[in-house]
């Protein structure tokens, strides 16, 4: 009797989760079916299944854009930004979580405070700054803006995680006379890997979809990101939505692949620790 009702409950849970999964999959499905419609069919039946196998939208994208270069660019910018943001954030998070020093809390609050300003405010001052340094229209501008603006939230997450690490392990290695970098590479990094992967997924997907930063800072066609290129599909004289959706679908494939590969790392050990 008990197992029967338990089965029933598990079945209900399954149904609920499956419905949510369907909702989560739906946008991707919608993009996929829309990308296979000619413009006029999309206008007539925006929600329906495509009538024929129609791949011209993808052909148009291939002819219109140098896809390899666009994806390559975006991958490079996102990759470099990931490396830079982690290199800057991990030591800071470690210091906030495990080291005792004066003004630690003060610095921590300042760090969190910088998250609370809308990014649009910074566009013009930062562009002027970048153009003075001569970094506009160069990948370094986008990488800098992305990685620096991600520091506060990255540090915030990693600090929370590192606080949950048992002090004993660190103490033990300290007693052994380990240096900073040994503690970092032997204990801190391996133990916080799931957190690092999680925050990297958050950051990478945000950056990949970011239109404004690369749009503003980069100009040359050779430096464009996928997201910016796709945005040029619509202009005053054309509103080819299926083509836009095909572009967006194509643009979202790499982050999905990266997510699927990396997510297995998150499975164990991501524990957000005590807040102090």
């Amino acid at each position: 009797m008990k197992t029967a009702s338990r089965r029933m409950i598990r079945f209900l849970i399954f149904i609920v989760l499956a419905v949510i999964a369907f909702m989560a999959m739906y946008p991707l499905f919608y993009m996929a079916i829309s990308s296979m419609k000619p413009t006029i069919e999309y206008i007539k039946h925006p929600m329906g299944l495509p009538k024929t196998w129609y791949f011209d939208n993808f052909i148009a994208l291939i002819y219109r854009f140098s896809l390899v270069r666009l994806f390559g660019n975006t991958l490079v910018y996102v990759g470099l930004s990931l490396v830079a943001s982690l290199a800057l954030s991990i030591p800071a998070a470690y210091a906030f979580a495990k080291l005792k020093f004066k003004y630690r809390n003060g610095f921590y609050i300042i760090m969190i405070a910088t998250m609370t300003i809308p990014g649009i405010t910074f566009i013009i001052p930062n562009y002027l700054l970048m153009s003075k340094i001569g970094w506009t229209d160069h990948i370094i501008s986008v990488v800098t803006i992305w990685s620096v603006s991600a520091i506060p939230s990255t540090v915030f997450l990693l600090t929370s995680l590192m606080r949950a690490m048992p002090d004993e392990v660190l103490e033990a290695i300290k007693i052994d006379g380990a240096k900073y970098h040994q503690a970092m590479f032997k204990v801190i990094l391996p133990m916080s890997l799931p957190g690092v992967v999680t925050v990297s997924i958050f950051n990478a997907t945000n950056w990949w979809n970011d239109l404004l930063t690369p749009l503003i800072y980069l100009q040359s066609d050779g430096l464009k990101t996928v997201t910016v290129a796709v945005a040029t599909v619509l202009n005053r004289f054309s509103s080819d939505y299926p083509l836009l959706l095909s572009g967006l679908l194509l643009a979202s494939l790499p982050p999905i692949a990266i997510y699927i590969i990396f997510q297995s790392y998150i499975r164990k050990g991501l524990v957000i620790g005590a807040v102090k």
């Binding site: 849970i13 399954f14 609920v16 989760l17 499956a18 949510i20 999964a21 989560a24 946008p27 991707l28 919608y30 993009m31 925006p46 929600m47 800057l88 954030s89 030591p91 800071a92 210091a95 080291l99 020093f101 630690r104 760090m111 969190i112 405070a113 910088t114 998250m115 609370t116 300003i117 809308p118 649009i120 405010t121 910074f122 013009i124 001052p125 930062n126 700054l129 800098t144 620096v148 506060p152 915030f156 997450l157 929370s160 300290k174 997924i201 997907t205 990949w208 979809n209 967006l248 643009a251 979202s252 997510y259 997510q263 998150i266 164990k268 050990g269 991501l270 524990v271 005590a274 807040v275």
Partner: protein
Amino acid sequence: MGLKQERWVGLFSLLPAFLLLAVFVGYPMFNTFFHSFTEWDGVTSTYVGWDNFKTILSNGDLPLMLRNNLIFLLSVPGILFISLTVSVLLHEEVPGWRLFRSVYYLPAILSSVVIGFLAKSMFTNKGIVNTLLENAGLGAFTTDWLNTVPTEFMILILCFYWQTLGQGTLIFLSGLSSISNELFDAAKIDGANWRQRLMYIVIPSLYPAIFYFTIVNVIYVFVGLFGLVYSITGGGPGYETTPIDYMIYIQAFRSGNMGYASALSVFLFFIVMFITWIQLKISKRLEQ
């Protein structure tokens, strides 16, 4: 490592991050503060004292924008509750849960443009939602979703939830996996029911994750929802769905009032700081 040494190591660990933050966040912030007291078109600025702030308080848009921000703020507990529930359900490990877990993050990977697009086409007058309602004999509930304010908020919040559920389950599920099975089993033997287990084991051990999720999303609804508002309602009708950050965009890039936009940013900064500060206070109290 001695204490004194630890202090230096600590400060040096912060140095690179703070140096860069000082340049690329600190400088524009200072710049924004400065320009909030000016009339500024990007090239020339003239000092106007507190005029911008006076205009913010007096031109009548503020109560409406604060109301809109408040509505979004009040939607955060909802997504917190949903994410927690879904995580707990996933933790039951029913068949297919791994797949579900992966799939839930997909909407977060897609840009707001897609989500906005989809929501817009679903909720048109003769769109899929109204058609389904009619076919289900609920014709009385069909409405012009995208042209009435409460339903517009509903759609905006739905999209916000859509994109945030994945993040929530990702964080909470890993928190749950750290709760030892022994603890659960012990509770079961003690005869604790599902609800008691949730209240006394799950929530307390997830507490730090909940704190993190809430802080991040409260900040997000103030400074990040802009993309969805832009693509779904455009802030209308009137300014009925315009939150402050969207108004900053309109003022800076559509009207070219960058001094006024700066003042609004400063204003928003203090609001969000205040709310975050309250959250930190509450969390400290809860912890004790």
